[in-house]
Chain length 344, copies 2
């Protein structure tokens, strides 16, 4: 049998109102009565019906997140972010509602459903696109949200990593190692961070007085397979690059694969670098030089911000920009400059 406020009220000989208020801690109920109510509630194992509570109070204590069903396997970026968000949500007593969706139309529908069906108090948007319709939607209906990534008009609460700075650090590292022919595997053009990282790449080339070569730019879809194919293409050029930078680690791992398949020893014959520093990056063969985005931490901070937005507290810092850290590993010749000779 379901135990509701009514059950307790009958048991205690009180009204539903009083039971509700006793449990909610209002001070217009006698302390002795309250204790009695609490005791009965405990004895009966009362658990409030959250659907009813949400319906009435319009607060769900739930945060929504939509994760794209990209590949067969889980996207390490999202898993990492998810665990950061989940961790911090637990801290505040919030739960997480996830909807896994095919990217595109369905994904947008999922957002619409989430925000309009009043099942969540706020939502975290990750991997922002240019002119992101999800953000347009959330702003239009004024639903609390925090984004990981800033869109064209970044005038909403967000947290982001300075991709330009990160990519620039990486380019300087490669130039210092003697590389003159550096290729870039781009992520899809509709993602905001692609443009930013590309800018870092361009700036890095300019600083070193290197030309920007169109044939050294290939776009792929963030996946390992995509990265592998892109790298194969680059390595098959008549004048192949000595270093390949990928816009995320997963594609960089694909590039490692492509290089190995071609009989090249990464770190000696060719340099490969990624972006993100997913957990796997430290364990690839050879370990991957990359730019560390503290994704887990970002998840936690994004949730902190979101809670404030939900509570309508002012954000002391509505636009957070984190400077990422370059992590040098063996895939670009290792930490010691001695490993830096490149076959040209």
């Amino acid at each position: 049998m379901k135990v509701t406020l009514k059950t307790i009220a009958q048991e205690a000989g009180l009204s539903i109102t009083t039971v509700s208020r006793a449990l909610a801690g209002y001070d217009d109920v006698n302390e002795a009565t309250r204790q009695r109510v609490i005791a009965i509630a405990k004895r009966l194992g009362y658990q409030p019906n959250l659907a009813a509570r949400h319906l009435r109070s319009k607060q769900t204590h739930t945060i929504g997140m939509v994760i794209p069903l990209t590949s067969y396997y889980s996207d390490p970026f999202f898993m990492e972010l998810l665990s950061g968000v989940g961790r911090q949500a637990a801290e505040y007593g919030y739960d997480l509602l996830l909807s896994a969706q095919q990217p595109g139309e369905e994904e947008l529908i999922a957002y619409r459903r989430m925000v309009a069906s009043s099942r969540i108090d706020g939502v975290i948007v990750a991997r922002v696109w240019k002119d992101d319709p999800r953000i347009a939607l959330l702003r239009e209906v004024q639903h609390p949200f925090v984004a990981f990534g800033r869109s064209n008009d970044g005038n909403y609460p967000h947290i982001d990593v300075d991709g330009l700075s990160g990519m620039l650090q990486l380019m300087r590292h490669l130039v210092e190692r003697g590389h003159r022919r550096i290729a870039l595997i781009l992520s899809p053009a509709n993602l905001v961070f692609t443009a930013v990282r590309y800018q870092g790449y361009v700036q890095g080339l300019a600083e070193a007085g290197l030309p920007l070569r169109q044939d050294y730019l290939v776009e792929a879809d963030l996946s390992q397979e995509g990265g592998c194919a892109a790298a194969q293409h680059l390595l098959a050029l008549p004048d192949p690059p000595t270093a390949i930078v990928a816009c995320n680690d997963t594609m960089a791992i694909g590039a490692l694969e492509a290089a190995r398949a071609r009989g090249l020893k990464v770190g000696r014959d060719i340099a490969v670098a990624g972006f993100d520093d997913i957990p796997l990056a430290a364990y690839t063969d050879p370990p991957l030089t990359t730019v560390r985005q503290p994704i887990y931490e970002i998840g936690r901070r994004a949730l902190d911000m979101l809670i404030r937005v939900i509570r309508r507290e002012p954000l002391q810092e509505p636009h957070v920009l984190i400077t990422p850290e370059l992590i040098v590993r063996q895939s670009t010749g290792g930490a010691s400059p001695a490993g830096g000779q490149v076959r040209v």
Copy 2:
């Protein structure tokens, strides 16, 4: 402004009932009327209030999962399972409610809250304990659930991997490679799979006519640090093992670390093996020999089963037992028997 059934009803000059029934597809509403209602609903961007719907219909189309907040980083096992469950849930149009909790008392409270607050239709329980109170709870209140792992009394819908068979395959592999001194890093004793894998270890020793040595058994907490400490202890023995098997990959990775720190080359000086085949296992240095649990697939199947339980359809196979596959990599000397000489 919130658009509800009432809004549509007014707009269409109909009752709330008719609008509700029109949208729900009942056949006691005129087709022309239905089309009109649908058009208005679409134009107004109607989204049903799910809290209200759940309250009334007692169906939430949501699956619950509690994930333990163990270490700072995310547990790859859970992430993998989560993505399998999430993927399949999306297939059925279900969402996922996650609650991240400290293991122990709080975790049980989270389960209690989830099931009693009628916010979810069913729950997936992972990493089952002996005499698992979560399962006791779920059975007591007769709440739909499917477990990954079987408890003492496995008389409930579950899916499991045959840990005994897996461990036995691994032991045979090591024995065949010439190992006579094989140690085991145990997972916590309250986990069911610990006992099963231990049994496989014991049986493996017996088959090879090897003694069961107490000093070759160390328990650790599933974490990388725990595995590292356990391996350090084993390697410091006066008569150290030539092979170390860990009850999961994460601990095995810790063991790799410990061996490396001691100056041993894993795969030549010592063999290390794990259990799970998490994505990382293929990328460790050297790549880890392990027993593959198809966690993602298991997540999907578990969800399939759960949906059936929720719909009160009979399960054609309430207890699924999957035979895992041995994955031989370099950490035990590689695929070729030539790599199998061990320093004894």
